[in-house]
């Protein structure tokens, strides 16, 4: 399945300024694994040792908050994932 991922600009230094990318995957976890395969510098930032998204980030599937954070949730062709950093500055 071809899925689009859009990541926050704060990651741009780790992805050569690429913020929209395509991954080939069947589940959310596979999407993230393919993302960090393409951009290895993101791996330590985004994923813990079990390949789960770290708590400092949120994930949205087709614009909707993915909660509970089910990493096995299937994705389909044309889906879009947004990975955003939880910001708290004021």
């Amino acid at each position: 399945m071809s899925v689009e991922i859009e990541i926050s600009p704060i990651f741009s230094r780790y992805t050569n300024n690429i913020l929209n990318m395509k991954v080939e995957s069947k589940t959310i976890r596979e999407c993230l694994n393919d993302l960090v395969r393409q951009f290895p510098n993101l791996k330590k930032l985004l994923l813990d040792k079990d390949s789960n998204l770290m708590h400092a980030y949120d994930i949205y599937l087709n614009g909707e908050n993915l909660y509970p954070r089910d990493m096995t949730k299937p994705v389909k062709d044309g889906d879009k994932l947004n990975v955003i950093f939880i910001i708290h500055g004021g």
Binding site: S8, G63, I87, G89
Partner: protein, 251 residues
């Protein structure tokens, strides 16, 4: 009742369809609690003062530092070392002598938050850390008053409006997640945009106009000059808002 001076001062907004003198009177009667007089708190308070909000209550325990001045436009070089709430009150008091500005220089804690918010009609979240934001969210839910969230980082910002009992709250959004409090990058124009969005939401809520930013997280990406909305669902098991049996709604 609006005075002749107020009718003249607010003439252009009273002209807005649906706003009218009634809307202006609602703003005059309103009491708003603003947590934070920094990057977000500056534009929020300035524009709420400009709009004629009757009572603005600002809480911030910090003092003005040189590194604040790239974004915290309420504070000037002459205020360095002084309390932010004093600096804010001095500017707002000169800007609009027809409103009341109350200041609180205490740290917001679980123990004092209810007393600090007191009988305010709403809470504006202009803080710089998640733990206090969660405290404010809980306090708003407990009091049954709206909560206007905003946050910034670099050229990015986010905003969401919470109507207790009706829409997703901050904890439905972040589920108790925390990130370490640390020095964060930011340029002044980012909180200017997000703070103005928060102030807009406050005005809309008080006057009763338009559609609020509820169940939606607005994401502002200034580098790509792009706004994105994410749908946020209420969490039926939310530790903050799922049990509403003890809540007393003002609305």
């Amino acid at each position: 009742m609006l005075t002749a001076k107020e009718l003249e001062r607010y003439d252009r907004q009273i002209m807005i369809y649906g706003f009218g003198k009634e809307g202006q009177e609602k703003l005059k009667k309103a009491r708003v609690f603003i947590a934070g007089a920094g990057g977000l708190g500056s534009p929020v308070t300035i524009y709420l003062a400009a709009a004629g909000i009757g009572t603005i209550r600002i809480a911030d325990h910090d003092r003005v530092e040189l590194s604040n001045l790239n974004r915290q436009v309420l504070h000037w070089e002459e205020n360095l070392g002084g309390r932010k709430v004093d600096s804010a009150a001095a500017k707002l008091g000169k800007f609009n002598t027809g409103i009341k500005v109350e200041t609180i220089a205490d740290t917001i804690t679980e123990a004092n938050i209810s007393q600090l918010v007191a009988d305010s009609d709403l809470i504006v979240d202009a803080m710089d850390n998640l733990p206090t934001r969660y405290l404010l969210n809980r306090a708003a839910i407990k009091k049954g008053i709206p909560f206007f969230h905003g946050a910034v980082y670099g050229f990015e910002g986010r905003a969401m409006t919470v109507i207790p009992g009706k829409s997703a709250c901050l904890n439905c959004l972040y589920h108790g997640a925390t990130v370490p409090k640390e020095k964060f990058p930011v340029i002044g124009v980012t909180p200017a945009v997000i703070g103005c969005i928060q102030a807009t939401e406050v005005i809309k809520y008080l006057v009763g106009l338009g559609e609020l930013l509820t169940n939606r997280l607005l994401n502002y990406d200034a580098l790509r000059m792009k706004f994105t909305e994410f749908k946020i669902n209420r969490d039926p098991n939310c530790e903050h808002c799922s049990n509403t049996s003890n809540r007393v709604s003002k609305q």
